[in-house]
Symmetry: C2
Subunit: 197 residues, 2 copies
Amino acid sequence: MQLTEIRVAGFGGQGVILSAIVLGKAASIYQDGFATMTQNFGPEARGGACSAQLVLSDQPVLYPYVTSPDILVVMSQEAYAKFSPELRPGGLMLIEQDLVRVSSIPVGTRIYGIPATRIAEELGKRMVLNIVMTGFFGAVTGLLERDSLRKAIETSVPGAFREVNLKAYDRGFDYGLQHVKNGALSSSELEAELVRE
Amino acid sequence: MQLTEIRVAGFGGQGVILSAIVLGKAASIYQDGFATMTQNFGPEARGGACSAQLVLSDQPVLYPYVTSPDILVVMSQEAYAKFSPELRPGGLMLIEQDLVRVSSIPVGTRIYGIPATRIAEELGKRMVLNIVMTGFFGAVTGLLERDSLRKAIETSVPGAFREVNLKAYDRGFDYGLQHVKNGALSSSELEAELVRE
């Protein structure tokens, strides 16, 4: 596993941190990697923004801060506005497509969208949107094994919510596989998707 | 709020991370401070150890790593063995007293113990031991306001578990107030407590 810098961002209550913890656990506990997860709390957190910085590597991670992520996961418009400029050129952005309107796509950036909240609502539990997003992340990035992510989810959520979280994971992963097959959204396709809402 | 470095450590499943998140949120969202929380995942995590590094400050936190904590919260013997040597001289250690046997107390170190797991079990939910511990932390350190910690818990746990977590918090806080009144455990008192088990 090459050193990979990731930021997961959204608003409070979306489960941004759990999502980052699951990715870190999958890499380090269920695979052979190392990971750090850093959360900054500050005035911006009082506005409801929430973000986690994650570094995955096959070596111990010496510097846990992420300044120019390879992968950016955004679940709110505010998070998109704040963090999309810092995405590494050629980086990958995953968005909650009902909550984020993409204003421009820098050349070389790949963007994939998923209606994670809607899928979570179909499962009867809006709060699992973060795990839908995590499944989507797994399929699109191919960075972690499907099964290690699954185990990380199983051991990170309360027993009463395990089943719905695993369903959410599978739905997100399958949706992602579909999108990988179809390729990343181009600027025009994305607009078409956004207009369809 | 002076810059305070804290490590919370235990084994996986004890809710170490949630406990650190609650402290960070209380400082930053419900009070005027800043906080970072960093979690390292690595081979030691595969052994079940789990630790979070937390920095609280009235200024933005520039360096999130904790090398010599002012406060160490330990909920397992393994965590105690690993992290107690790094406690700052004159620092404060909070232990889950049924799970941690203290071998020696460096001069100037204050140690307070609470049977957090037993209290959590009395409430019918072993998994809230981390929140009992958080209440205890609040009372003993006086670092954060009782009400901001409470709000941080309310907004960090799933609705179905809110009530039992708030009860756990109050139980831990009240137990802590009692201990603060009685003063920190000395070496001999601690041994007496440990022998009583």
